[in-house]
């Protein structure tokens, strides 16, 4: 059964079709949720809430674009809502203050070479970023938003978006260097 048939069935609240759609898209959407969440439990909740929202609002999907794009947008929006809620609780202030002085190193010209790093480790690196950096990085890299759009969406200044992306890159570069250094050390030891 292709997507369009499944979507028609889902619009009629057909539970079997919903299950097939869940099994088809949940693994990739789980990656989206994990990219935006440090805790796996939060990612699981986002996945659950995202599919509930998708199934209840599937009537608004007209089938003119990619269903996966529509679905991913729901999960990203949910992740952003969660981010705003957490931000309101000032949970991130401590992280920002800790990182304020340490993250201002300018990344070198190496454009974050992750070619040899396993996917799960890349995902883990992103998840370990502080929430603000992680959110800006995800929106800029994966949702391909401009800093202006990110700034509007998160209610921050455009310069702040650029700054957080810059710091995210800096942190990732350190992690990538460390991973590559470990790999090369192990490789040398094995030799």
């Amino acid at each position: 059964m292709d997507d369009s048939q499944l979507i028609i069935a889902c619009k009629k609240q057909d539970r079997n079709a919903q299950k097939v759609l869940y099994e088809r898209y949940a693994p990739v959407m789980m990656t989206v949720c994990l990219r935006y969440s440090k805790e796996e439990e939060t990612a699981r909740d986002l996945l659950h809430d995202g599919f509930i929202r998708a199934f209840t609002q599937i009537g608004s999907f007209r089938g003119k674009g990619s269903f996966e794009g529509w679905l991913r947008r729901i999960f990203v929006n949910l992740a952003l809502e969660n981010y705003r809620k957490e931000k309101q609780k000032n949970r991130f202030l401590e992280e920002y203050s800790l990182l304020k002085s340490a993250d201002l190193e300018v990344p070198d010209d190496d454009p974050l070479d992750i070619g040899d790093i396993p996917r799960e480790e890349v995902l883990e690196m992103i998840r370990e970023l502080p929430p603000g950096y992680r959110t800006v990085f995800n929106l800029f890299i994966f949702e391909e938003m401009s800093h202006r759009e990110i700034a509007e969406m998160l209610g921050i200044h455009e310069a702040a978006s650029r700054s957080q992306f810059f710091r995210a890159k800096s942190l990732l570069q350190k992690k990538i260097s460390a991973i590559l250094h470990n790999c090369s050390s192990r490789y040398n030891e094995q030799r």
Binding site: A26, T31, L47, G69, S146
Partner: protein, 436 residues
């Protein structure tokens, strides 16, 4: 920027289709939640149906009661009852009638509130006994007798204007009048030179005018999310034709990409108005006036590289015409049903569009801003129904609240509003009514 694009490509290639392991019982949780939501929706739907049915039933019962209620109640004259063989005794509910001499001799005659009808007798010259039926008999008679005096030999013809004046001044309302007898007014006929009970229907001209000041808030919004580009203008206009600049057209090419998302939202309408209502029949009021309504809408078309936001604000002025029927009263609350319609026309509208985004090569940004006044071509017609409660705060001031809904007919206008997209809008009316 190019280096950032390289980072984008590298990370997207790594993770965009990377499947992560799913949580255990992930689907079961979703299924349970969906079942709960479905159950809740069923309950809400049933409540809605039940509420609608109850409102319709109230309207139906109220209408039937209204249609069956005679405008002139036929109450037999007590003089007729007295002529019955068994009617030598007055009904037990009616207090015994003192002779007029006894009545005049009572120094402190206090009318009792419990009295539903009273009888007084006036002995005419010929010795014939006539009975007077009144809703507030004792009080009115006492006052009348004090003012004019009653003597057996006094001609009632002379007193007729005085008595009528007394009644018209509204003294009737100063005393306890049992519900349901408000239409009974004492009058004196000069033709037969007798005091007698007569039922007189209160004319419409005698009813009070009521001025209402109220506000109305919609209980529902409208939200739509689709993947294809939308606009707040009518679907009959091509989307491309509405974004004229080259920069935005360039951005629009990206709107056909898969990840486009369009969200349109109409806020709840907010209204304020002043109305004048007048009784046309017993318990039935016609109401009209002026109502101002504010409508606002937002729309966003966006994908990874661009965003176009439209906002729209329209101010309407409408003329409502409603029929309000008081179904019944409980303690001091009046429950009433209302049906009617409204014709609205926009006074002022503003449409604002802001388009920003990167072009396909990520090296430049296109931007367009448009602000203009707008006007809807056709007036908006709607019909509404609702059920409300009113409660007296002061002697001539009542607070009221009404829950209802309105259906908006398709006016074929250029700019979309909640009227055109939602059609049926539930609303809550709250206000004050001043009686004159």
């Amino acid at each position: 920027m190019n280096r950032d694009n390289d980072i984008r490509r590298a990370f997207r290639a790594k993770l965009s289709d990377y499947p992560s392991p799913l949580p255990a019982e992930g689907w079961e949780r979703v299924e349970q939640s969906m079942s709960r939501i479905a159950a809740t929706r069923r309950v809400l739907r049933r409540r809605w149906y039940a509420g609608t049915a109850a409102a319709l039933l109230l309207l139906l019962v109220g209408s039937l009661l209204f249609l069956q209620m005679p405008l002139l109640q036929e109450i037999p004259m007590l003089t007729e009852q007295e002529k019955h063989p068994a009617g030598g005794q007055l009904p037990s509910a009616v207090p015994a009638v003192p002779d007029h001499a006894d009545l005049l001799s009572l120094p402190h005659y206090e009318p009792t509130r419990a009295a539903t009808a009273g009888l007084a007798s006036v002995r005419r010259k010929g010795g014939e006994k006539n009975l007077l039926l009144a809703n507030n008999p004792a009080g009115m008679m006492e006052r009348w007798i004090r003012q004019n005096g009653v003597a057996p030999d006094r001609s009632l013809d002379d007193l007729l204007p005085v008595f009528q004046s007394l009644i018209r001044k509204g003294d009737l309302s100063r005393y306890a009048i049992p519900a349901g007898h408000i239409e009974e007014v004492i009058s004196v006929s000069s033709d037969d030179d007798q005091l007698f009970a007569e039922n007189v229907a209160v004319g419409a001209g005698d009813e009070r005018l009521t001025i209402g000041l109220g506000g109305r808030g919609g209980l529902s919004t409208f939200r739509q999310t689709v993947n294809s580009p939308m606009t707040l203008r009518s679907a009959s206009l091509a989307t491309e034709a509405q974004y004229s600049s080259e920069g935005v057209k360039n951005m629009l090419t990206t709107t056909r990409t898969a990840d486009n998302l369009s969200e349109m939202e109409h806020d709840q309408p907010v209204s304020f108005g002043i109305t004048l209502s007048k009784s046309i029949f017993d318990n039935l009021f016609i109401e009209s006036g002026l109502t101002y309504t504010y409508l606002s809408s937002r729309l966003r078309n966006a994908n990874a590289n661009f965003r176009i936001e439209e906002t729209q604000k329209i101010h309407y002025l409408g003329i409502p015409v409603n029929l309000n029927y008081t179904l019944f009263s409980v303690k001091r609350f009046n429950l009433y049903a209302s049906v009617g319609g409204m014709l609205e026309k926009d006074l002022y509208g503003e449409y604002r569009k802001l388009g920003t985004g990167e072009t396909l090569d990520f090296n430049s940004t296109a931007e367009e801003e448009e602000v203009k006044k707008i006007s809807q071509r056709n007036p908006q017609l709607s019909v509404n129904a609702g059920v409300g409660l009113s409660y007296p705060l002061m002697q001539h001031l009542r607070i009221y609240g009404k829950v209802g809904g309105a259906y908006y007919f398709d006016a074929g206008n250029e700019y979309k509003t909640i009227y055109s997209d939602r059609k049926i809008v539930m609303d809550l009316n709250i206000g004050l009514r001043v009686e004159f």
